[in-house]
């Protein structure tokens, strides 16, 4: 069952309700809500953090290591839930949860090559947009500067009562004691600036710092369905070559600096599922309209020995019934940009959507949708 590609009912509903993209009326930069995200700390880390100190939302766990593993190689992981921490301690594979509202971590600055001789770079203290579901820390080693107590950034997109906020918490984490100490919290209210087919949403906010440093913070989310299994995680690239990725966590964030007479842009690749005319109904296989050969081979491996993959599978008592259907997926390219010409009083924000690849067709087993009232389900 673990190899089956599942679609949850909730995600399916989100997909079905996804409206066509509406990127035409992207708000002006000045119309975006303003706030700030925390930045990479400039202070030196504490020498030690007692094991008794904790920070909400930072769960520190050490995986099981063999007795031969030297102490300097025994890392700890910081994750977002006690359940995930427990899984790590037990040696289970960590859960990933790429959906709106899930938690993402980062542990390094975006521009790690800052030269003290250079002019201050507004991006040098920005947290890296390489987000993931967990970060690892290693005990201090004299041979590696990046070991020891480290700063960890935790961010989460909170959707409540129609408002959207990117909440961030930064903490020092001691890999020896597993203690954590709060550095600071920040909150960035966001607004929806674009939606596209497949349930993709783009949020944006103004992130304005001291000294006139301004960023447009852009966050991309997509439904939590198993697309990462089929199509891979979202990944982004700013035009200066800085990478960003969702790393299996809830969202992908791209910071774009607002620079006078200049612009910054990025693209995000997001595999999405396209609405299918046959969505929700069991698909009838056609001889000449099947998936590519590689997918067919995978499907053959997935089929159960009884050789009846197309019929509803007899579900375990606690599992919903399964159906097979055709899923159309395609790589979407999301373009994000902010720029300000000499005549722009307000920086120009741009969010647009295009395709980055061919459509792929797969057959997937998924939970059967609940019976609708029209069919006498109630």
């Amino acid at each position: 069952m673990a190899r089956l590609v599942l679609l949850t009912g909730v995600a399916f509903a989100v997909l079905a309700a996804a409206s066509p993209a509406s990127a035409g009326d992207v708000p002006k930069y000045s119309e975006l809500p303003s706030g700030h995200l925390s930045t990479f700390p400039t202070a030196k880390p504490p020498a030690s953090i007692p094991a008794s100190e904790h920070v909400d939302g930072f769960f520190v766990a050490m995986p099981k290591f063999s007795p031969e593993t030297p102490a300097r190689a025994r890392h700890v992981s910081v994750v977002a839930s006690a359940k995930s921490a427990e899984s790590i301690r037990k040696g289970d594979s960590g859960e990933t949860d790429e959906r709106e509202g899930a938690t993402c971590f980062s542990d390094s600055p975006m521009n790690g090559r800052h030269d003290p001789d250079d002019e201050p770079d507004p991006e040098s203290s920005e947290w890296s947009p390489g987000l993931r579901t967990e970060v690892n820390l290693w005990p201090k080693s004299e041979h590696n500067d990046s070991t020891g107590i480290g700063a960890v950034h935790r961010e989460r997109l909170v959707v409540e009562n129609g408002t959207v906020t990117l909440e961030s918490v930064d903490a020092w984490v001691d890999p020896v004691t597993q203690g954590a100490r709060l550095i600071g919290r920040a909150s960035l209210p966001m607004v929806l600036v674009g939606t596209a087919v497949g349930g993709v949403k783009v949020y944006a906010a103004r992130d304005e710092r001291a000294g006139g440093v301004r960023f447009a913070q852009l966050v991309v989310v997509r439904p939590a369905w198993e697309s990462r299994t089929r199509g891979g995680a979202m990944q982004g690239l700013r035009q200066d070559g800085t990478g960003a990725h969702a790393g299996g966590c809830g969202h992908l964030r791209i910071p774009l600096a607002v620079v006078a007479n200049e612009g910054e842009s990025a693209i995000v690749l997001a595999p999405v599922e396209l609405p299918s005319p046959s969505a929700g109904a069991p698909a009838k296989a056609k001889a000449n309209d099947g998936p590519p050969l590689s997918v067919k081979l995978q499907m053959l491996k997935r089929r159960r020995p009884n050789g009846k993959p197309k019929t509803a599978a007899p579900a375990p008592a606690e599992q919903p019934p399964m159906v097979e259907r055709e899923a159309r997926t395609r790589d979407m390219q999301i373009h994000l940009s902010v720029s300000q010409s000499s005549r722009d009083q307000d920086p120009l924000l741009a969010v647009s959507f295009g395709w980055a690849g061919r459509e792929q067709v797969q057959r997937v087993l998924e939970s059967a949708p609940p019976p609708s009232p029209a069919h006498g389900g109630e």
């Binding site: 993209a21 509406s22 990944q235 035009q239 790589d331 647009s352 959507f353 061919r358």
Partner: protein, 683 residues
């Protein structure tokens, strides 16, 4: 257009300037008070230019195109500059039928409908600007007056009130300004090679000119008396490269204050590490410009960034086989700052690498021959037409780097040379010259459309057949010449027109298996100039093309297609020669023919070549051979930089620096050198 008339026009302009009526005296602009002289010289009475017109422009772009939209008698029309028919076609947009044809006796390059309904057109092969008026939708336009221009007028633009009309001249290398009411000349500014599109800034104080070659965009001052020309560099950068170089240069500048030696060493280190990459990628194919109040203060210039390879190396083909030689770009020009946003010149290769391969690979070919552009104000989309792939691509015009923001594309007729937006009906209208069709399509919104369930809808209609049918071989050859993304021609999408835009040369020196080689101009120069290639290795054009396709890793053409391409190459029209001072040209001719100068010994015959190889001490360190085939001097005046490796940027520099190795010029006075150069420009 005869040379005498053009020469006479130049004399009149010079006379007006000499009369002190203009406050000129600049090296970049001509005239300013030339209005009187032009009015006197005008072949038609100025009052005829003032005739009323029944046309009402649809939308206001302020710039011409190969088609321009208007309403007449309540009908929505497109006026189309049909260079093959040498006429302006009147096309009903709703029925897509041709209503009328207005023969012009010359090939129109662009058409523009002014706010008062008068229609302007440039006649590329007659060097004329024509003013016409409409009487009714189904009747031909009426020619009211004409004005001579510098050779090869192409693009038209107007100030906000249509009071000033500006025209670019490709071969003439001019931006000419005319009175919008009378077409009386106002001034001319000399601009670099191959100007093409032009737009006027919102404040009317400057004009922005694109160039088919040369990695630049020109900004011409319209308001002052000198009409100075500023060049905006359009060179491509790898992601992060421009910022990193700027950072390093700042650091070195700071270091210079304290330790000059260390700064010098650091600079050398940069040069060593970055090499030619520090200069950025050259660009070409600047055929189109677009601007709109919807994205005010920005001008869009579709380009192609080129990596011609290291001239010190000898790759297997044309350029570095490990690099993408051609990369499309859409430069965003800050109208106020008169500079390009660096973000728009960032090469998108790393972004492309993110995309996955195999079955999920993006199969869409790139726009390597952009030809026209327009902005849809409703969606803030920049629509670019692309030769070769016969497509219109919509980009997000609000983007700092539009190229990476492709929204949608439509397939249209062959050779889409112009585009206009019919805003009321929110549709794009495209003129495709190669198959003489009009394509219309609904632009739609900005939503991402699933093209399986909602395929792009394009309606296409052919115009009335030409009275004088174009030879099929020539027509096919023209299509093949512009075929981009065609595996028969090249493996990386390059078309013949990539290195030879409009049949000219790209002004770029490429690394080749023989050593560094400048692309050569083809139009009007191919026939009677055998043998081919810089080393004269190929005796026939067929063989030379086959060899070229090999070096581009193309599969090659069938013989019937190769014949067609040769036919097209051999019959590309040459541009008209620029007007010159006849006396000076005659003196130059005498010098050219003199045994002392020794030019005519090798540059002999009708094509000014003896067809033989000579060693003129020009061997580059990467060259395999030291002797080169004598190049034809036909059209030499407009094809710099010169020599096989582009070592001389101007004719003047060439004449001075080749003394003793290729003829003799040291004995010539400055005036005689000037005369010799003048003569060369007449060839």
């Amino acid at each position: 257009m005869d040379k005498a008339r053009l020469g006479g026009f130049a004399v009149l302009l010079a006379a007006a300037a000499a009369a002190g009526a203009c406050g000129g005296g600049t090296t970049t602009g001509r005239g300013g008070g030339a209005k009187d002289a032009r009015t006197v010289a005008s072949p038609r009475a100025p009052s005829r230019c003032d005739a009323p017109s029944a046309a009402e422009p649809i939308g206001r772009t302020g710039a011409g195109a190969t088609l321009s939209l208007a309403k007449v008698d309540g009908r929505r029309l497109a006026y189309v500059a049909d260079e093959d028919a040498k006429a302006i076609l009147t096309v009903d947009l709703d029925t897509r039928t041709q209503l009328a044809s207005t023969p012009l006796g010359g090939a129109p390059a662009q058409v523009y409908v002014a706010a008062d309904g008068r229609v302007l057109a440039t006649l590329r092969d007659k060097s004329e600007l024509v003013m016409l008026t409409a009487t009714e939708a189904t009747a031909p336009l009426v020619v009211r007056c004409t004005a001579p221009t510098a050779p090869e007028p192409i693009a038209i633009a107007a100030s906000a009130d249509d009071g000033t009309i500006v025209v670019t001249s490709g071969w003439g290398q001019r931006l000419s300004a005319f009175d919008g009411r009378t077409l009386a000349p106002r001034f001319e500014a000399t601009v670099p090679r191959e100007p093409r599109s032009v737009v006027v800034a919102d404040d009317g104080k400057s004009a922005f000119v694109s160039h088919a070659v040369g990695s630049i965009l020109s900004v011409v001052d319209l308001a002052g008396t000198k009409h100075e020309v500023k060049e905006v560099r359009l060179r491509g950068w790898q992601p992060g490269q421009a910022k990193e170089l700027a950072r390093e240069r700042k650091r070195i500048a700071k270091l210079e204050e304290s330790d000059a030696e260390a700064a010098k060493a650091a600079l050398e280190d940069i040069s060593h590490r970055e090499g030619r990459a520090a200069l950025g990628r050259p660009s070409c194919q600047g055929f189109a410009l677009a601007k709109s109040s919807a994205v005010a203060g920005r001008i869009f210039a579709p380009q192609v960034m080129v990596d011609p390879g290291d001239p010190d190396e000898r790759p297997d083909g044309y350029g570095d086989e490990n690099e993408q030689t051609e990369t499309p770009a859409v430069a965003v020009i800050d109208e106020g700052a008169k500079a390009a946003m660096q973000s728009s010149l960032t090469l998108g290769r790393e972004l492309q690498m993110m995309k996955r391969g195999g079955e999920q690979r993006d199969p869409r070919p790139e726009c390597l021959l952009p030809r026209a552009a327009a902005i849809d104000p409703k969606t803030k989309s920049l629509l670019v037409t692309c030769y070769g792939i016969d497509a219109v691509i919509a980009y997000d015009a609000a983007s700092a780097n539009p190229l990476t923001s492709e929204r949608r594309r439509w397939t249209v007729g062959a050779g889409p040379s112009g585009i206009a937006i019919d805003l009321d009906k929110h549709r794009g209208v495209v003129w495709s010259q190669f198959d003489r069709t009009i394509s219309t399509f609904p632009i739609g919104g900005t939503e991402l459309v699933d093209d399986k369930t909602t395929p792009p809808l394009v309606q296409r209609a052919a115009m009335t057949p030409l009275n004088e049918k174009m030879p099929a071989e020539y027509a096919l050859g023209r299509i093949l010449f512009h075929a981009a993304g065609d595996a028969r021609i090249s493996s990386d999408g390059r078309a013949c027109a990539s290195c030879h835009p409009d049949g000219r040369d790209d002004a770029i020196t490429w690394a080749t298996p023989e050593g560094p080689r400048r692309s050569i101009m083809l139009a009007g120069r191919v026939s009677r100039t055998a043998p081919y290639s810089w080393n004269g290795n190929e005796t026939t054009l067929h063989n030379h093309l086959g060899n070229t396709f090999d070096r581009l890793s193309g599969r090659g053409l069938r013989s019937i297609e190769l014949d067609a391409l040769v036919t097209y190459l051999s019959n590309m029209p040459a541009p008209l020669a620029a007007p010159v001072d006849p006396a000076k040209a005659e003196r130059g001719k005498q010098i050219f023919a003199s045994p002392e100068a020794g030019c005519a010994g090798c540059h002999s015959g009708a094509s000014y070549t003896d067809g033989k190889n000579h060693d003129v001490s020009s061997k580059h360190k990467a060259d395999r051979e030291a002797s080169f085939n004598t190049p034809s001097l036909h059209l030499v005046g407009g094809t710099g930089p010169y020599f096989h490796d582009g070592r001389y940027s101007t004719l003047g520099e060439l004449l001075k620096k080749t003394d003793g190795t290729m003829g003799k010029t040291a004995h010539l006075s400055a005036a005689d050198l000037d005369a010799l150069e003048t003569f060369l420009r007449t060839l």
